[in-house]
Symmetry: C2
Subunit: 460 residues, 2 copies
Amino acid sequence: MGATDRMHMVNSFDPHAGVNLGQRASALIERRQRVLGAPYRLFYERPVEVSRGEGALLFDPDGADYLDAYNNVPVVGHANARVRAAVSDQLGRVNTHTRYLTDEIVDYSERLVSLFPDHLEQVVFACTGSEAVDLALRIAAHVTGGSGIVITANAYHGTTQASAAVSPSLGPNNTLPSHVATVAAPDPLRDPADDGTAAALFAQRVEEAIRQLESRGVTFSALIVDSVLSSDGLVTHPTGVLGPAVDVARRHGGLYIADEVQPGFGRLGSTWWGFTRHSVAPDLVVLGKPMGNGLPISAVVGRRDLMEAFGRDVRYFNTFGGTPVSIAAATAVLDEIESRDLRANAASVGAALREGLHDISDRDPRLGQARGEGLFLGVEFVQPADTDEHLPDARLANRVVNGLREKRVLVSASGRYENVLKIRPPLVFTRAHADRLLTALDEVLTETSSSGGETSGHHR
Amino acid sequence: MGATDRMHMVNSFDPHAGVNLGQRASALIERRQRVLGAPYRLFYERPVEVSRGEGALLFDPDGADYLDAYNNVPVVGHANARVRAAVSDQLGRVNTHTRYLTDEIVDYSERLVSLFPDHLEQVVFACTGSEAVDLALRIAAHVTGGSGIVITANAYHGTTQASAAVSPSLGPNNTLPSHVATVAAPDPLRDPADDGTAAALFAQRVEEAIRQLESRGVTFSALIVDSVLSSDGLVTHPTGVLGPAVDVARRHGGLYIADEVQPGFGRLGSTWWGFTRHSVAPDLVVLGKPMGNGLPISAVVGRRDLMEAFGRDVRYFNTFGGTPVSIAAATAVLDEIESRDLRANAASVGAALREGLHDISDRDPRLGQARGEGLFLGVEFVQPADTDEHLPDARLANRVVNGLREKRVLVSASGRYENVLKIRPPLVFTRAHADRLLTALDEVLTETSSSGGETSGHHR
């Protein structure tokens, strides 16, 4: 780790590592460091230069193709033609804020809420998942009169001050304020095999966290959970695991906010939203990343009574939230998901990919578990041992991430122990793409096996 | 005001006022209320329906043209062809986040910082002004170790939790936390005529506010000021008025953050940025609204040492911040401003418009003052009297705003007393547009004069 880098990040380029990147990339990185500096971290030991994209592929300036198995924002594919046409068309007409009357936002809003359970009837638009989380927390605080938030131990919910305050995965320098309490996420590899026990355990932790807040004099306001616990290492099963915890939150007068920024919009195949799989009813739902295929649009969908209470008392206006251009992009995204049946594609390609990962993990004890749902999959690396300790192997995860990058397959790692391969491609991912990923992973694992302790990884 | 509307907003539509809007608009508003609800307020007693735009004009579905003298977001004009082509072109190539290497963000960043004084060398991108303010406050807190913020009494800086906390103009229900202290803004109509006194008075208030924070046990972190005090009623003169206050902030170990979301990008004609006119050197500058002509892009430009200190210790990553598409829009905006010499246009058309406003105010004592710079102008309405009390007349401001809307000229009102007409058109505003606005204003003033106390205004 570079001397000036006091903050660790999974899968980040270290400008001080002295890796040879070629003249063009080195010169660009140098200019970038000067004007963008420390806040701007690149992925990979050898960063990827991107000049073009198409579907699930990205291309570098030399024309080499990279399989994008990581980015959920271009959910209907890089350089999607329908999104492009919709945005271009609307830019040729008008793009005002929402204090003038326009059709588009009303049409889209009705269509969006129709994808949710009946009790979620209204929507407020913003631009980023962070803004939507920030707003959801404000709504919760307003209607409950409390500020206390319960989150999972390695949660990520955003980068505004209020959303970073509920994002411990941002690292140890991101100190959590006293109105925030954390609970260990369910751990599908290490929890008791009995599903009911995992759910009860999680509910018990939430109860303890609420009591902890109360003992600090903080009134409980909301439990906010990413419906697949992405940054906690991807927990898609058991599906009932959130239910009892939500009941606990309600009993203590708090709301349940479902963060669907990562799982939402059909990624899980079987359902539009992650919370649906848990048979729980959120009070507020936060949407983001894939919503506009890269155009900045996000939203809070919620109960009418909550939205009205907040909207009557507090003035909220987001200049760029729900503008006709962002709505045009979001509409095109729904059109693409529905007309190309991308949820079914996520289900079938995801199942094939997961099967392939299971095959590999059956053969290689370093893969402690392959899991996931639809096109959101994780592979947890552990140190092989005769015991059941499942000791995490973040070093191996990092080597695999960078090994795959050298084979032009893009993924990253996440999780509490940073040892979970994060596979989250655009929903236009095909069987052939899945095969390419599996073949590359097999090769990388063989190579890392033969090279033994030798590694280029510099992370812990 | 409607029974359910417990929160006043300048120039807002009251769905309970029973104004006849025609079947189409009424039906659309009803659907809108159902799915978007209370948080979504429309402008005007009779809302404006918008289906198309071009330059400084907006068109309703019947093809009637409205002169847009209010919106600063479409800075280079509604449906700008260059922005559209740039966005469309980039959407056809690729639109990834900033953790891969791309040229565009580096090229634009270098160009952007070259428009600032030498000591402001680095930039971080976000999507909205709110996010940029939120980030600037986080940077300030991190490098100063304090959380205390001093703002003006009717400031508006954003809608995230942290930026709403420094936005008293959001109304009485937006309670300010104890780490925020307010100062009365300079008042060009009521302050002593001597420029030095106004500056000294403002500095003294800032000093008192910092001491007030210290007495609460809060360490001072930053003074944040909109460089033309837009929501405090538009204060463009005297130009030296901020200097001594900034010195006070520095002496107390705090930063000075210039909020350029409204004045920035050449609106003032003579300078790119509002702070330049005050000969003060900000530590951080916040950019937003016009930056991408409606594409959501914002930024913090700042001192390298501050950015590096924050970036080394705190992980900040904004998924949609600085993506190639938003950068393409922002690049096209700079191209348009420069190639069409829109700053010079803002200066000359703005001067003509201001002169016309002065002519009217010379004739009509209800216009207490017409002021501004470039294409950011304000007209302060007062109750005519023999005294020098300058009693504000918000009711008249509201009648003029709605009267102009009936003549299809769009402006709004703002200021501490809600009595200042806010004229802030796209920079493609022409002399002919200025004449149209002046003629309409003259007519409205004549009409409101003859109708005496009779008014359709329902606001206080």
